[in-house]
Assembly symmetry: C2
Homo-oligomer: 419 residues x 2
């Protein structure tokens, strides 16, 4: 017997029902924000990903050489392909360009709960603007998408990598020292950060101050910390962004968090993350911010920002919150009482389908009892029984599967009855 | 600059609008027929595909060895993965099992119009029944899906591989002779078929008779040709299938075509194809029939049938017929007349979005003239202008972009006005 490749999944009709529902909630939210859907191929040239993320990413990639000798890789993420597409074909479009997409991504990773080798992402980019209103809208959209999908327990954190850099500069930390600190900061290991700062020769008070700035959610405390004009301007913009987020987008449930580092070193300025509180280690549903990638791909410099949402984790978050997904359901199951009734049964079936009613019919000639059992197993809402006596009166019997009520209905009135 | 891999495509918002529309038309038709969506991974173990199609398929595959030494391949088609899924996890479900799916497939092929290295397919399987009513419904669904997507000039051909085999047996053709003939028959090269039959030592009259049977669409002529009980039973079932197709499903626009061979040698009995008359060489949109694959994959024998629809070719067929796809459109574009109006503008924008209206807003502070130009470039239906004088009266100005008419509307009445 053939096996599913490790780290991949088959999705049953019940799972696809959930996934379809969540995808539609996400898509319609992107669309109400004026974003438009695009799509790129499942694989790209290997160098697209190494150019963005460095050679070390090859370790995690599904890469291969095609029969023409090209080095290709299944995409591990969607931003690099989208920016390649933009540079290649969309640079002349009016700005800002608001693009969203869904796509499967691939990482050769150790499979575990919430981490698969083939996983689905939703994402977007806004290209050509870096105003606080654009950023506030972007963050609000990410939040609204997860809300619309149905996730209730969300935590939104907002940081800024330019301000984080300023903090480092304030203490004259070298690039190497910064590199040592960032993973500790990323993991919120602030005691280790403090110890490292002391080892770097920073005095007790300063090390405490720095550690506190990384942990505070009070933007005024951060402001008091800085004297340079550039950082103050960055803080002003951040304050405008969160002001609009609160007042125009009515999102007050957020934290300022200067310790957001994000794995990717191409982020610049604004960064944000949304976590599902009920999930464990793999609780981050969304990450994004402002970044620079267009010039690296030989495009004309223009501001870019975007985010990615883990589709599979969003489903896990909904399941953890016991979200009531709409049930899969069949509107009607038609049962011919004998083989002679088949032709008429199919005709009735087909006419209801033309009215966008979902209808199934006994295709195994198994008789009343077994057909009723089957109809119940596939969650049919109503049953239509086609028998010779009723047909003489141009009628059929309808049974409601929930109430058990039965009635005789003229065939010509069936559609009205079904609505 | 990085290039798109050969034979793959990027899809713009305009193309994705078309594709989304067609996918939804197909999905909703599958659902009205009581089919339920599933999904399998993008890659499978290589041996899954060689078991079904033989070692020669490796030539056409994107295959690779993963970091754990597993031989994998991007799927070239969807039936083998779906049957693997069925055997692995769905065998105990009530029958018949009606499954449909969408998925990208991959073939290392010479790219040309209507043939891509990454292409999308829609498809379905019905597992557990082989009644004429099941087959008539399957064919009708394929036809209805293409009709619902909007394709007008369709040709439906129905054949039967068991009857084709009987024709061969009637003339005592060896396996090798059949193998030589099938590609000629597949390409409708009936003169070559005739010549070959003569070379095989078949007399002029018999060769003519065989060639005629392959070309006739009159099922009675085919019936007169056979004496054996098994073939007559097969013909009876075929007549029942097409009888139901005509009378219950109202599809009369079909041809009987015994020359349908289909590339895959796992088909048994019923086969059918649907072509788009306005397309050239690559005009086949749909192919399907009854087949045996479950036992090869170590599952318990049960009848199976299904079909695949070329999604990309369906789009090409619609384009060839100049189908009017629904336009991409933005309901409203909001323009703040100055920076002070931004906060209120975003608030108005966001409130309309909550009502599922698609709304964009100027995020570049570019003033009235440029904003109007941008709104027009993204096909905004209406404009809302937010200015200080109107705001004093809790109002904004609405302009209809088609008629050019403008009016002042109370903010609280905006949603009513937009519906």
């Amino acid at each position: 017997m053939f096996k599913l490749p490790r780290g991949t999944r088959d999705f049953t009709p019940e799972e696809m029902q959930k996934r379809g529902y969540v995808e539609e909630a996400m898509r319609s939210t992107f669309q109400t924000f004026g974003y438009r859907e695009i799509q790129t191929p499942t694989f790209e040239t290997l160098e697209l990903f190494t150019a963005k993320s460095g050679e070390t990413i090859i370790e995690e990639l599904y890469s291969f050489t095609d029969k023409g000798g090209r080095e290709l890789a299944l995409r591990p993420e969607l931003t690099a392909p989208v920016i390649r597409f933009y540079v290649d074909k969309l640079q002349m479009k009016p700005k800002p360009l608001k693009l969203f997409y869904f796509g499967n991504c691939y990482r050769y990773d150790r499979p575990q709960k919430g981490r698969y080798r083939e996983f689905k992402q939703a994402g977007c980019e806004i290209i050509g603007t870096d105003t606080p209103e654009a950023y506030a809208e972007l963050i609000a959209m990410a939040y609204n998408i997860l809300e619309k999908a149905g996730v209730k327990n969300l935590e939104l954190n907002i940081g800024n990598l330019n301000i984080l850099s300023s903090i480092f500069s304030q203490f004259k930390l070298s690039k190497d020292q910064q590199k040592y600190l960032t993973p500790l900061i990323d993991k919120s290991l602030f005691e280790d950060v403090f110890d490292a700062l002391r080892e770097f020769g920073i005095n007790n008070d300063d090390a405490s101050a720095l550690s506190e700035i990384l942990q505070t959610s009070d933007i005024n405390k951060i402001e008091n910390f800085f004297k340079d004009a550039a950082t103050n301007k960055e803080l002003e913009e951040l304050k405008k962004t969160i002001g609009l987020l609160e007042e125009s987008f009515c999102i007050k449930n957020y934290q300022i968090k200067m310790s957001i580092v994000r794995g990717l070193d191409y982020y610049k300025g604004l960064v944000f993350e949304i976590e599902a509180l009920l999930l464990g280690a793999e609780k981050q549903l969304c990450g994004g911010g402002a970044y620079e990638l267009i010039t690296l791909f030989d495009g004309k410099e223009t501001p870019t920002a975007g985010f990615a949402i883990g589709f599979d984790r969003t489903i896990l978050a909904l399941e953890a919150e016991k979200y009531q997904f709409p049930a899969t359901k069949l509107d009607v199951f038609v049962i011919p009482v004998n083989e002679d009734m088949m032709k008429k049964s199919l005709e009735i079936t087909q006419n209801l389908r033309k009215q966008d009613i979902s209808v199934d019919v006994d295709l195994l000639r198994r008789g009343m009892g077994k057909s009723l059992k089957y109809a119940s197993s596939i969650n049919a809402h109503k049953i239509i029984i086609v028998g010779p006596k009723e047909l003489e009166k141009d009628s059929v019997t309808i049974r409601d599967m929930e109430s058990g009520k039965q009635e005789m209905v003229k065939i010509k009135d069936l559609y009205q009855k079904m609505k």
